[in-house]
Amino acid sequence: MTDSAQFALYSLLLPAGSFLLLAVVAPLRRSGRPAGFISIVFSAAALGWAVRAWLHSSREVFQPPLLWEWIPAEAGPLATVGVLADADSTIMLVLVALVSFLVQVYSLGYLAHEPAQGLGRYYAYQSLFAFSMMGLVLAPNFVQLFIFWELVGLCSYLLIGYWYGKPEAARAAVKAFWTTKAGDVGLLIGIVLLWQRTGTFDFLELLMQVDAGTLPLEGLGLVTFCIYLGAVGKSAQFPLHVWLPDAMEGPTPVSALIHAATMVTAGVYLLKRTDWLFALTPDVLALVGWVGAFTALLAATLACAQSDIKRVLAYSTVSQLGYMMAAIGAGFASAGFLHLLTNGLFKALLFLGAGAVIHAVGSNDIFQMGGLRRAMPQTTIVFLVGALSLAGIPLFGGFFSKDEVLGAVWAGGLTAPFVMLVVTAFLTAFYMFRVVFIAFFGEPASQGHGAHVGAGHSSAAHGGTHLQDPLPTMALPFWLLAIMSVGVGILFTVRHPEHEFAAPGWLTPLVVTVSVGGILLAWLTYHRRVVDAERLAAAFGLVREAALAKFWVDDVFEAMYRGALLAFSRAVGWMDRYLVDGIVNVLSAWTLVLGDRLRRMQSGQPQDYVYGVALGLLLLLVLIQWPR
């Protein structure tokens, strides 16, 4: 029995228990806030066990996973489920449990005005998500990973569609599901293919095969490519990134948890988990890096053109996921993983801050905000911390990990992606501080705060009239995250962990300079107004047009869905109904027509029947006398 696996298991089972409790005991679920308290207590306990598991795992050298048979077969179990608690999975577990716990606390304030029934449903989903994400993290094999991979997708679907009465939310939910499912198709195929050639789903067994060199290399590229497809969908890589910005239709805490800190990073986690497999297929790995860098740049460009604060953050998430993927593609998965962890902290922080703003202002539009730093000082501080982290300023959370990523990409020899990422770093700083300067500094927006432009927010419908910092239930979580972001930043700045690779000395100054440059440009444009925003935008005419049109990726998908898939399905449906079934109906219609014709022979006159009999008799007589 390994301690850390045990603890991880407890941590995993607690949210499951809370979900079952809320799902089955209907009165409890309908009671709203009590349901929330239960879920929060369970997730706090889960966090506790997760931390214990993490502490234990770092001491132990090797932890055999706990396994149970899931699908039996003649020759031993075909598939197992269990808990694999090693250093990577437990730290991830802690991140998941932590953010999940904080978000649940935060939601209590954010969704305070929801009807009780809806709130209970929300917490049931939250518990289910926590369970699924932990299950994904702790998965010892591909089957369990895929199971929970799909389950987190389900939770994402349910939570994006939490306000299912809103058509946008309903549409965004299914869009998210379909897009990620398209990637999952690849993942499933990859898993099946891998199983066929190795006979196992188990990570450790696969790792042993890789180490022993018994894994057949031929065709492995296809396998890893398919697995990577799953990550493309889940971690919003180009071209399947389109769902993530739309997913912002969900409640903001959900965006913080699922679409910033945890679920979307599952793809990165998967690649990190199986980096030894991808290492065998350098071509695919290079593809991962290129796509990652391209995604990062593309999303950063898009983020500059958004006016919806959540969409800016969403694109920044896509962009950061691109960073992580680029690092993995360069062959240094741990750099990407590190960025995953830090990003989880400060991105959740940013979302929670943005949530507080939205809650107060009642709108997502940054141009509806302005001068919030006076009314909401606390929020301003934490948002600023988040923005600085994201921009990669020293002493803040994202600095070191971003540095690592860029160093990894350089060391991996991906020069062009490296350039893209540096440009992205500049853009990142720019768009983040564009939001900061527009929303928090400057003058308050002229028209009434409560004006609901953009997506109307049912929970925040009351807001706007009295701008102030949120209540402690909301403030506490983001303060905690802010402290941790800074803490991690300081920790890494002071105690530099060992590099896996040799990063050139000019790298850190370059990154910092670029980031500061971005901030400076934003300051000049949106605060000092030295640079005219319109002219700046006009300078990038075509790019701006393209960014506003989301680079037409959405349109392409839309056209594929409506123009190709639905049209084709209608054609098939028509064909089935009127051609395939038509032939059947023609046959039966012929039978009917023939019957109708033959019916007329039945005159009803007995004598006619006698004629018939007589003719039959004649026929028989002729037949038997026919000379043979």
């Binding site: 033959l598 022979m601 009803g604 007995p606």
Partner: protein
């Protein structure tokens, strides 16, 4: 004509003759059945046909020396009587309902 008048086993008329006679009667009966308009007329035609059958049965029975055929004739005759009784009852019934005995007007069997 007493049976004893005919010397046993020395018949001049072969089986063919009887069968031909029966066939002729049968054809005439058939003609009656298909041409008559009156239901009773049709019945009479049927009687003729049955009669032809009886002749066949008896002739075969006699020429094969097996009285079983004659037993069948007994049955046929009896059944015919029953049939005629029921048939005529039907004719009368139909007549009552439809006010006709003309077969052309009876087309309940029409498909």
């Amino acid at each position: 004509m007493p049976a004893g008048m005919l010397p046993v086993g020395t018949s001049a008329m072969p089986l063919h003759a009887y069968l031909t006679l029966a066939a002729t009667l049968f054809a005439i009966g058939l003609f009656g059945v298909v041409t008559r308009r009156n239901t009773i007329g049709i019945l009479l035609g049927i009687e003729l046909m049955l009669n032809a059958v009886n002749i066949n049965l008896v002739a075969f029975a006699r020429f094969n020396g097996d009285p079983a055929g004659m037993v069948f004739t007994v049955f046929t005759i009896c059944i015919t009587v029953a049939e005629v009784a029921v048939g005529l009852a039907l004719v009368i019934l139909i007549f009552r309902i439809r006010r006709t005995v003309i077969a052309d007007h009876l087309d309940l069997l029409r498909g």
